[in-house]
């Protein structure tokens, strides 16, 4: 299978949007750590986690190319379906008003209050700041790494576009963090999660089908049909949920 825009475009977009959501959630906590416990520990903890995540991508990504492609597609496609449909289900329920929307300002206030209650800050590196920033960056970053590998490694040559999408999201969020110095609450997070859920579910279905040896009608372009199919299903579910409530 060769890389076409039908694959590279959606894989880059999926990795960018998914990474944007995850990095925004990490930024909220890192900003709280920086404001309450100091920027040295906040940036140090996040930087260490980002280096570790980069090492994981460099190690795991190429290693997957040694496994037969159909097995990788079947395995990663299944995981991508579990991950993407979980996101899509939750964003449908949030859009329909069944469960509450995620609020970055409220999360920032909660994290700040918790950090204030953890005692004074000594000289040198603040362990609490380093540990908190490291943990949140690792947690959210692990999801980014999974998405980049799952979207990228199941198709020959897609790891680079997926990686570039995630890198672009990181740069956007870091830029917003430096410019605003407050949580990025103006981005409609649930709309992003809805879109990412649709894209990842479509990719998961496509990779599983490829892994099983299915002949997709229209070959790679059927990925776009799957995106449309999941989008229509999710929109219908949201509307029906709202109407019945």
């Amino acid at each position: 299978m060769t890389v076409t825009w039908a694959h590279a475009g959606p894989s880059m977009l999926a990795a960018f949007l998914a990474s944007l959501v995850e990095f925004i959630e990490a930024l909220t906590v890192v900003l709280a750590v920086g404001a309450i416990r100091g920027w040295r520990g906040a940036i140090g903890g996040s930087g260490a986690a980002l280096l570790l995540l980069l090492a994981i991508v460099v190690a795991v990504g190429p290693a997957l190319t040694r496994i037969p492609l159909d097995m990788v597609q079947l395995g990663l496609g299944t995981l991508l379906l579990l991950f993407g449909m979980r996101w899509l289900r939750k964003s449908i329920l949030r859009a329909a008003g069944v469960i509450a929307l995620h609020d970055e300002d409220a999360a920032y206030a909660r994290e700040s209050a918790a950090l204030r209650g953890l005692g004074g800050i000594g000289a040198g590196w603040d362990r609490i700041a380093v540990a908190t920033s490291f943990k949140i960056t690792m947690m959210e970053g692990t999801e980014v790494v999974f998405i980049v590998i799952a979207v990228g490694a199941a198709g020959n040559g897609l790891l680079v576009p997926a990686g570039l999408g995630a890198l672009a999201a990181l740069l956007v969020v870091v830029g917003l963090g430096i410019a605003l110095h407050r949580p990025v609450a103006m981005i409609p997070e649930n709309v992003l999660k809805f879109a990412v859920g649709v894209l990842l579910s479509a990719f998961g279905t496509f990779w599983v089908g490829e892994g099983m040896g299915m002949a997709w009608p229209g070959a790679d372009w059927s990925l776009l049909a799957l995106v449309a199919g999941f989008l229509l299903t999710a929109l219908a579910a949201t509307l029906l949920c709202r109407r019945v409530r």
């Binding site: 299944t78 995981l79 379906l81 579990l82 991950f83 449909m85 979980r86 899509l88 289900r89 939750k90 449908i92 329920l93 329909a96 069944v98 469960i99 947690m139 692990t142 999801e143 999974f146 579910s201 279905t205 599983v208 089908g209 099983m212 040896g213 299915m214 002949a215 997709w216 009608p217 059927s222 799957l226 199919g229 999941f230 299903t233 999710a234 219908a236 579910a237 029906l240 949920c241 019945v244 409530r245």
Partner: protein, 63 residues
């Protein structure tokens, strides 16, 4: 270690019923692929769409 495993599991499983249904359906779709290969892409997607709808409406009834 326990925390890491539970965090990793939480990446993929939120509604256990949804996760189990997806995995079971992939097995069924694999069997059907050998019986009706031409229709298997449509069958695979349709089943997943139904599973998503069932999970959403089940949660709406008992959130």
């Amino acid at each position: 270690m326990k925390t890491i495993v539970s965090e990793l599991l939480a990446l993929f499983v939120d509604d256990a019923g949804l996760a189990v249904a997806i995995v079971v359906w992939l097995g069924v779709a694999w069997l059907l692929f050998h019986l009706v290969p031409a229709w298997s892409p449509v069958i695979l997607f349709a089943g997943l769409a139904v599973i998503l709808l069932e999970s959403v409406f089940r949660t709406r009834r008992t959130p």
